[in-house]
């Protein structure tokens, strides 16, 4: 029975919400870690997101974005990286000294390379 037919009976198959760590793609993480090693230091305090102007009005959340990168969850990143205005306020807050602005810049670079099969 095809998915289309299943739908006619009022059933749908939801896409998995699992973070499938065994099949996720950590190329972006490796790229970011290599080019901005301070990325490794994030301990998810959320100070960056609290300070973030973009995050007050959009779904942008740098702390969550870093977790996505670490887990190899690429899809949500495509939207996230476009929302940061690179103002650098997060840099002033980060208690671990992560170069947060560069994390965003390098992630955007990684995504575009990924899309061109260059990663």
């Amino acid at each position: 029975m095809s998915l289309n037919q299943a739908n006619k009976f009022g059933f749908v198959i939801n896409p998995s919400r699992l973070i499938d760590y065994d099949s996720s793609d950590r190329k972006v993480r490796d790229y970011v870690t290599l080019r901005e090693p301070s990325f490794k230091l994030c301990f998810a305090c959320g100070g960056c997101t609290a300070a973030c102007t973009a995050g007050q009005h959009t779904s942008f959340n740098l702390r969550r974005m870093i977790t996505y990168i670490r887990r190899g969850e690429i899809e949500p990143l495509r939207d996230e990286v476009t929302r940061c205005m690179l103002c650098g306020k997060c840099l002033l807050v980060c208690p671990r000294g992560v170069n947060t602005r560069n994390v965003v810049a390098v992630t955007a670079e990684a995504i575009s390379k990924l899309d061109r099969n260059e990663l």
Partner: protein, 344 residues
């Protein structure tokens, strides 16, 4: 111990120094306790009650005071130890502020810690906004029996901000001060008991309930006292038109930024190497760790050893620790000192 009693100088009259002096004196050693303040007692003098059992700090204060009332102990106050030097033959010379020198057979360094100066986290507004206080200031309010805003009105909501001056590269303190988490929980409960209608929020990055009965106190704060916990580091505080503090934080568990008005913001200030102790270390050639506390001979089995003959470390000059561990560490320093003196 036979013959003339050996002489030990204890640098610092806080919890560690008092315990070390008392232990040595009862074993028959002659002790000189050097304290920089008016009286021995250290930071404990300004505390109201202690975690995790919330016993009055006065009980531990009087235990320690009795400990140093001994004919073998002489106490020098308003004085710091400026330099310690071992001389071949076994004498340890000590230079005191004011220009006097003392000689001893051994020295225990117990110079302790200092609280992080909250002015340095300017974004939290300590010294700028009236109702931003430190955890030590709050103990002062408990001592006076009243928690109130600067205008003397009753607060309806208080926020306790964890990790102020700890785990923060921006103030050059990457270390965890260990005791602030449980202090916040203790203080939250105390406020709730004094002001039952006052809402309490603890803003934490990780709850580090490392000691016996700490986790139980944390649980009690939720179960009985309705203390609220929000996981996120506060990025900044400001004051709005109603003269209430406004803080910005990410509620990291909800994954969204959060703002909240507060009547009082309490900064849980961490521990740093004490300044006079740091100068002493500099002058005497004691090694310091990356956290700027004194580096001990061995982290696991020699954490009272200084690397200099005849000199031993006790208490929070080596790392942040609670009172229980400080007293144990001071006793261990005494054991090391006695072993050294007996073996000479």
């Amino acid at each position: 111990m036979k013959g003339t009693p050996k002489h030990v100088i204890v640098a610092g009259g806080g919890v560690a120094g008092m315990e070390a002096a008392g232990s040595l004196a009862e074993m028959g050693y002659r002790v000189t306790l050097v304290e920089k303040g008016e009286d021995p007692g250290g930071h404990l003098l300004q505390w109201h009650a202690l975690f995790p059992d919330r016993r009055p700090a006065d009980e531990v204060r009087s235990y320690l005071r009795k400990r140093i009332v001994h004919h073998n102990i002489s106490i020098i106050t308003r004085t710091t130890v400026e330099k310690i030097k071992y001389h071949p033959g076994g004498t340890v010379s000590v230079n005191l502020s004011g220009g006097t020198d003392e000689k001893a057979d051994a020295v225990i360094v117990a110079t302790g810690f200092q609280l992080f100066d909250a002015h340095r986290k300017e974004e939290y507004g300590y010294g700028i906004y009236d109702n931003v206080i430190t955890s030590a200031d709050l103990e002062g309010m408990f001592n006076r029996g009243r928690v109130a805003k600067a205008d003397n009105s009753v607060p309806a909501r208080i926020g306790l901000i964890h990790c102020v001056g700890s785990r923060d590269e921006k103030v050059n303190n990457n270390h965890c001060s260990k005791v602030c988490c449980v202090t916040a929980v203790k203080q939250a409960i105390e406020i709730r008991e004094m002001l039952p209608s006052c809402e309490i929020f603890c803003f934490y990055m990780d709850m580090r309930m490392y000691g016996p009965y700490y986790e139980e106190l944390y649980r009690e704060s939720q179960e009985i006292h309705n203390v609220n916990f929000i996981r996120g580091k506060v990025s900044e505080a400001s004051v709005n038109i109603n003269n209430r503090l406004v803080i910005k934080v990410e509620d990291t568990l909800a994954g969204r930024p959060l703002k909240m008005e507060l009547d009082i913001m309490v900064l849980m200030v961490g521990m740093e190497m004490e300044e006079a102790g740091a100068k002493l270390a500099e002058a005497s050639g004691f090694k310091r760790g990356i956290n700027r506390f004194l580096e001990t001979g061995d982290h696991h089995y020699g954490n009272n050893l200084s690397g200099v003959r005849g000199v031993f470390y006790a208490g929070t000059c080596t790392a942040p620790m609670n009172i229980t561990d400080t007293i144990s560490h001071a006793r261990a320093a005494v054991a090391e000192t006695v072993r050294y003196l007996d073996g000479r």
